[in-house]
Amino acid sequence: MFAGLAGLVAFLAVLPLARLLIEAFAPQGYPTISILEDVFRNPTTWRATVHSLEISFGGTILATAIGVSVALAVSFCDIRHRNAIIFCFVLPLMIAPQVTALAWLQVAGPSSPLLRAIGLAPPIGTPNPLYSREGIILLLGIEYAPLVFLTLRAGLRALPREMIEAALAAGAGRWLVLRTIVLPLMTPPLAAGISLTFVSCIGNFGIPAFLGIPGGYIVLPTLIYQRLSGLGPAALAEVSALSVLIATIAIGGILVQDYMLRRRDFRISGTSQSIGPSSLGRWRLPLETMLWFYLLATLAVPFASLVAVSLVPIFGVPLTWETASIESYVYILVEHGVSHRAFRNSLLLAGSAAIAIVMISAPLGYYLAWRESRALKLLNLSAELPYALPGIVFAIALILVFLRPIPVLGIGIYNTVWIIFIAYLGRFLVLSLRPVVSAYHQLDRAMEEAASALGAGVLRRMRTIMFPLVAQSAAAGALLVFLMSFSELTLSALLWSSGAETLGTVMFSFQQSGGVNHASAIAVVTILVTLVLMLSTLLLGRRVPKGVLPWRD
C-alpha cells in the first residue's frame, strides 16, 4: 500500500515538475538554452519580472505591517471579542483573490455607490484607481496580512510569559520589552511568515489578473496566462521557461523560510503559560475602534459594494429600492447554462478532491509520521512542492504531462474536468496531509501497538484504530481543501475547457466581458458558501483540533 501511495505522490507532484524542467531546458529532448535565451532576451519578460518583484515586495511590506500590528494587539492587549476579530481578520485568506479583487473594484471605481454617496467618486470615464501597481499592492497586503498574523501569533503563544516578566522585573518598560525581548525572539516565526507572504504574492494570479490586465500592468503569472491563452499549446516551451523563472524566485523565498524556521534554536524552553493580555486602560477603546474600523473597511465595505453591484439590473444604473433586482442571481444560478454548469463542476471538483485527499492523506500521514526514513522525508517534501510553488507553475507542468493522451492507456484528460481534478489533488494535498501528520505525531504509538499485540494486522489497525483517531484533523483539512478549490482560479484559468468551466473561470470571463453584475453575483454566492462553512465549524466547538483551521484562535 505504501508503494502505491508513494507512487501517487510522485505522479501528482514529482512527474509534472520534472516534465516542466525538461520542457524548459531540453524542449526537443536534448539540452538547449535557445528557448531560455529567447525568453530572457525579450524585454516583456523583464518588465513582468520587475513588476512581479515590485508588487511582491510592496504587498509583503504592507501585509507585514498590518499582520504584525494586529498580532501584537490581540496577543498583548485586553481587547474584547478577540475571537470574532481574529475570525474576521483571517477571512480574506479564505476568500479567493479574484473575489477580493472584484469586490474592491466596486468600492473604488467611478461608479462606486459608496464614493458617489460621499462625493469622492472619480469622474465617470476615468480608470478605476485600483487598476495600478499601488492597487495590486494594497489588495495583496490585505489578502496576505493574515499569513504574517498567523505565524506571529503562533510564535507569541509559544513565548513563555516569564521571559517578559523577567524583563519587566528588571525595570524595562513595555516598549523596551517589546523591542529588546519580544521582537528578537519572534524573528524566526516572523521571518517565516514574511517569506511565505512573499512567495504567495509572487504566485498570486487573481489580483493582478483583475487589476493589472486592464491597465496593462503585467506580472509573470498574468504574462504566462496571456501567452498561453493567446497562442495555445504552441506557447508551451516559452511559458515553461517563464514558469521556471517564477519558480526560481519563489524557491528563493521558500529557502529563506526554511532557513528561518530551522534557526529556531533560541526557541524557548519551558512549559509555562503563555502571555496573558495586559490592561490597556483608556487606550482600549481607541484600539478596538481602530481594529473594527479596519475590518469594516476591508470586509464589510467591499462585500456591501459587491452585493450592491450584483443587485443592479444593468451596469451603470444607480441602485435604489426600486431598481434592485435579483435578476443576476437568477441568471447565474438558473438561466445561464455555463454558470450553472460551473457551479456543478466546482461543487463536484471541490467535494471529490476533498474526499480523495482525505483518503490519501490518512494512510500516507501514517507512514510519514511514524516510519522514519530518508525516502519518506523526500516524499513529504515532494508533496509540499505543488502547494509551495506558484499555482500557475503547477498548472503549466500538468498541461505538459497531459497534453497528449496517457501512453499505453490512451486516455486523454487534457480539456476535461479530470485535469482540474488532478491539479486540485496535487496542489491541495498538503492542506490535509499536514494536520493529519501532526495528529499522528500527537497520538500515543501504544494505541497502535496495543491493537497489534491483540492480533490486528496493519490494514485492520488503520481502519479500526488509526483512521478514527485522526479523522477530525483529516476532516478539518478536507474543509480547507474544499474552501480553497471551490472558488479557485489560478489553476483552472489555464486548465479549463468548454464543458469544464469552474466558478473562478466563469467569474473571470464575466468580468472581462463587462458582465460585472453577474461576476459579482457569483462572487457573493461563493463568499456566502465560504462563510457558512467557516461558521459551521464554530458550532462543532472543541471537536475540531486546535491549530488546523486558521480562523479559529
Binding site: M447, E449, A450, S452, A453, L454, G455, G457
Partner: protein, 359 residues
C-alpha cells in the same frame, strides 16, 4: 501457556547499543520482573519480546517457536502476546466494552461467545457495570483495569507489563499489585513485568532480572538480589546497599572469608571459591553495622549527622581512615549518640561482591 527464551539478543540504534547480549529464560507460568533505572534498556527489551521492534542479533523463542532473530521477525500481531502499556493505550473512540472485545473480534470469535468473555473479563477486574462508558470517564486505576482486561480476554500465553503502575498514586498501587498477584495465581500465565521500582518487583515477582546499561547484571529471587548482589550496581540499586572497599585476607571457608575493612577485621559472606585478594568490594546494609559496645574495638570515626527516619535515626558515620566515605548506621530512638560524637563501629556481616562482575 508458554515459556520465553531469550538468547544473547542485542539491539543497536545507530551507534548506541540499547541491549548487549542479554540472555534470559522465563519458565512457563513464571512471574519475572525486569528491574533497572531509566535508560537501562528494559523498555527496549519489552518491545523486542512483543515484536514492536527487531533484534539486531540473537534470538527470541516463545515456547518452541522462534519469533525473532537477525533474519526472522514474526510481527507483533502474530505472536499472541498480551501487552499492558504504561499509558494504558485505551482507544478513546471505543467504549470500555469495545476496547476489551477488540482482540476477540480480530480473532473472529462469534458475537455470543465474545460478549460472554468480555463480561467475564470485566467481572474479573471489577468493572462489570462500566462496559458502556468511554475510557475518558474512568479514573487512572479503572483505566489500568480495563487495559488488563483487554489484554487477558484473549488468554495470551505470555503477558508483558510495561511499568503498569507508574502513573498511579501510591495508595492505588498497593491494591493493583495485589490484583496482579491474584490474577497470576489464578491463571498461571507467564508474566514479564517491567519496572524501575524495586519494591514493586520484590512484592510481585518470582525472580527479578536486573538490567544495567543494556546488560543483564543478575537474575535471581528478591532475597538473593538483596543478600548476594552479583555486581556493585545491583548492590547499590537494590536496597541501597553500601559498596565499600575491603581486602580479603584468606580463602573462603564455609561460605565466608575473613576481610579487613577500614582497618577492622570481620567475616563476610561470599561465593564458594573466593580467594584472598586486595582491593575487593563488599556490600553492606545499615543493619549489619552497629556502634561498638565497649568503645575500644571497631572502626574509629566521627558521627557527622543524625537524620530522623521515623522510629529510628540514620547516623552518618565517617571512618578516620577514609573521612570522605559515609557509612549509614541505624540508631534506634531515643538516640544514644549525638552529631560530632567520636565512635567505633563494628561490622557484623556483609557480602563480598564476586570478582569478575566487580571489575
Amino acid at each position: 501457556m508458554a515459556g520465553l527464551k531469550i538468547d544473547r539478543i542485542t539491539r543497536q540504534f545507530a551507534d548506541f547499543k540499547a541491549l548487549k547480549e542479554v540472555s534470559l529464560d522465563v519458565a512457563d507460568g513464571e512471574f519475572l520482573a525486569v528491574l533497572g533505572p531509566s535508560g537501562c534498556g528494559k523498555t527496549t527489551l519489552l518491545r523486542l519480546i512483543a515484536g514492536f521492534d527487531k533484534v539486531t542479533d540473537g534470538a527470541i523463542w516463545l515456547g518452541n517457536r522462534l519469533v525473532s532473530d537477525s533474519r526472522r521477525h514474526v510481527p507483533a500481531e502474530s505472536r499472541g502476546i498480551g501487552v499492558v502499556f504504561q499509558s494504558y493505550a485505551l482507544w478513546p473512540h471505543m467504549s470500555v466494552e469495545e476496547n476489551v472485545a477488540y482482540g476477540l473480534e480480530v480473532a473472529g470469535i462469534d458475537r455470543d461467545h465474545r460478549d460472554r468473555r468480555v463480561a467475564e473479563a470485566l467481572e474479573l477486574v471489577g468493572l462489570s457495570t462500566y462496559g458502556n462508558r468511554p475510557p475518558s470517564s474512568l479514573s487512572g486505576g479503572q483505566r489500568q483495569r480495563v487495559a488488563l482486561a483487554r489484554c487477558l480476554v484473549t488468554e495470551p500465553g505470555l503477558i508483558l507489563l510495561d511499568e503498569p503502575l507508574a502513573n498511579l498514586d501510591v495508595h492505588l498501587r498497593a491494591s493493583m499489585e495485589e490484583e496482579f498477584r491474584r490474577f497470576h495465581e489464578r491463571t498461571g500465565t507467564t508474566m514479564v513485568y517491567i519496572t524501575h521500582d524495586q519494591a514493586e518487583a520484590m512484592a510481585l515477582a518470582d525472580r527479578i532480572a536486573v538490567l544495567d546499561h543494556g546488560m543483564l547484571a543478575q537474575v535471581a529471587t528478591a532475597s538473593t538480589l538483596y543478600r548476594e548482589p552479583a555486581t556493585e550496581m545491583v548492590a547499590g540499586f537494590v536496597g541501597q546497599g553500601m559498596v565499600l572497599p575491603i581486602d580479603i585476607l584468606d580463602t573462603c571457608r564455609a561460605g565466608s572469608c575473613p576481610v579487613r575493612i577500614f582497618g577492622f577485621e570481620a567475616r563476610m559472606r561470599c561465593q564458594p571459591g573466593t580467594g584472598a585478594r586486595a582491593g575487593a568490594k563488599a556490600c553492606l546494609r545499615a543493619e549489619e553495622l552497629a556502634f561498638s559496645n565497649d568503645g575500644i574495638s571497631g572502626i574509629s570515626g566521627t558521627v557527622r549527622r543524625l537524620i530522623y527516619q521515623g522510629g529510628y535515626f540514620r547516623a552518618d558515620f565517617h571512618p578516620d581512615l577514609s573521612p570522605e566515605t559515609s557509612l549509614e548506621i541505624t540508631v534506634p530512638e531515643p538516640a544514644t549518640v549525638d552529631a560530632g560524637a567520636r565512635m567505633r563501629v563494628v561490622v557484623r556481616g556483609g557480602w563480598i561482591i564476586p570478582a569478575d562482575a566487580a571489575n
